[in-house]
Amino acid sequence: MEANPRMGYGSIIKIPFGPQHPALKEPEHFTFEVEGNIIVDVKPRLGYNHRGIEKAMEVRTYIQNIYLAERICGICSDAHTTCYCQAIEELLGVEAPPRAKYIRVIIAELERIHSHSLWVGIAAHEIGFDTLFMHVWRDRETIMDILEFISGNRVHYAMNTIGGVRRDISSDMIPKIKKGLDFLEERIKDYIKIIETDPTIRKRTVNVGVLKPKDAIELCAVGPTLRASGIKNDVRKDDPYAAYDEIPFNVITNDGCDVFARIIVRCEEMLESVNMIRYALDNLPSGRLRVRVPLAVPAGEVVSRVEAPRGELIHYARSNGTSRPERYKIRSPTLGNIPALCKMLLGQHVADIPIVLAGIDPCFACMDRIAIVDTKTRKRRVMNFEELRRFSQRWRKTH
């Protein structure tokens, strides 16, 4: 490659990033063009974990597809089934009973806390603050225990079905859930205090990975990534589903526009979620859990939206009168945030790649092998993600 005329440092080096890394959830590849230590271009390449679920759904029945939708993601499995089930309910012209809607909110908010705390731990790990990582993940077990207590499962809760939910939350279960929530509330408040005051965290995250409000809107960012750029946008409020129109809550925003703001938004959202779960438990309507639905779905089309932990999740379904969908489209929030992610990486240091990438809470983010190729000398050096993480921490200590 020719020397870059813009900055005069010499060559631009391409760094292939990914796709394999066992420590993160899914594989992903980025090509970074760097000049010196600064990123000047980012090219994403997706699909390493493309399983053809949309195509697979066309040849399965609506009932089978609940289980397939559950397995789209291992973190926000409930968001996908909620989105799926309410889409099919709308096509059938049925509505889940009020008790089922409240239980859907409870599970969704428990999932949000578990997903956000998982993320806070990962973010702390990326910047080398492993003590915080260990503490957050230890406390996250409380949420996992509550989810297991309610549903019998830690990951795929299998709570949703077309027409309602499959398991009840009985009144004698509520005290135990509330006890867990009280503990978590204390801990989350503690974390916010630590994050706001700790100089290490501030140094690594303030003004890092900046996404200006204008760019966030133009690049169609979603979820906490968007809200941390000061945009008040939340599907739960704007386009309410389940029982979100009956449960009071605030949409958390922050004007920081950087990784620090993204941490704060997620932490404060966890506190909101704790209150929402408490309210839903106290006001749980009585009644049945589900309505029975026919196997064949009349012809029609529907757009279903849900605020997953990472942001707006949208499903589109077209039915043809049989027991299998004609077309089922899924767009998960991470894809919506990738153009914004590419924007925030521009002008950043190589050492900040892990935390900025982690900043959108990617549900793919796998960066295993990193080959640094100097295009001038043709020398090739391969770093794995762990080495890059160490390099990043070493570099930060001296700069």
């Binding site: 493309h50 195509k55 757009v303 489209k329």
Partner: protein, 161 residues
């Protein structure tokens, strides 16, 4: 009149007979189908006149003779406006909207990958999700390919079935 109906009425006035169908099946949901020649104007109207900035995604669908594209916009974050347009399957092409909605960049690439729609004016339509060794001209979401066909294709190319 509901806000949803007002939006539909405004679109009808602005696009002057180029709307094939418009419906408002429930609160916060609008479906509008436009003629292909009016597509770019429809997007321009949404972005510039209605100030719709958020594109949730693009759905592509094989209808046999045609491919239907559905652009899912969000008006004020709340009302989902699904703008539909048909393109012939023989030579599926449609103007890219990346200049109007920069966030459409990956959604157009995705539809190009899986259905072979050519988004004219898109800066980079290289592969996004299909593997490098995927055969040219095979678009997996088209109805002529069953999941079994695709599995066979993959194993022929050295992938696991």
């Amino acid at each position: 009149m509901s806000l949803e109906n007002k939006v539909i009425e405004k679109m009808k006035v602005s696009l002057n007979g180029k709307i094939l169908e418009a419906s408002n099946p429930r609160a916060r949901r609008i479906f509008v189908k436009v003629k292909p020649e009016a597509f770019k104007d429809a997007v321009k109207f949404l972005v510039e006149d209605l100030n719709v900035k958020h594109l949730s995604t693009i759905t592509g669908m094989d209808l046999g003779e045609k491919i239907e594209l559905i652009y899912h916009f969000a008006f004020q974050g709340a009302i989902s406006i699904s703008l539909k347009v048909d393109v012939p399957k023989e030579s599926p092409r449609i103007p890219s909207i990346v200049n109007l909605v920069p966030g459409a960049i990956l959604y157009e690439r995705e539809v190009h990958d899986v259905l072979g729609v050519n988004f004219e004016g898109h800066p980079d339509l290289s592969r996004l999700i299909l593997p490098e060794d995927w055969p040219e001209g095979v678009y997996p979401l088209r109805k002529e390919y069953s999941p079994e066909d695709l599995r066979k294709l993959l194993s022929k190319n050295g992938g696991k079935s």
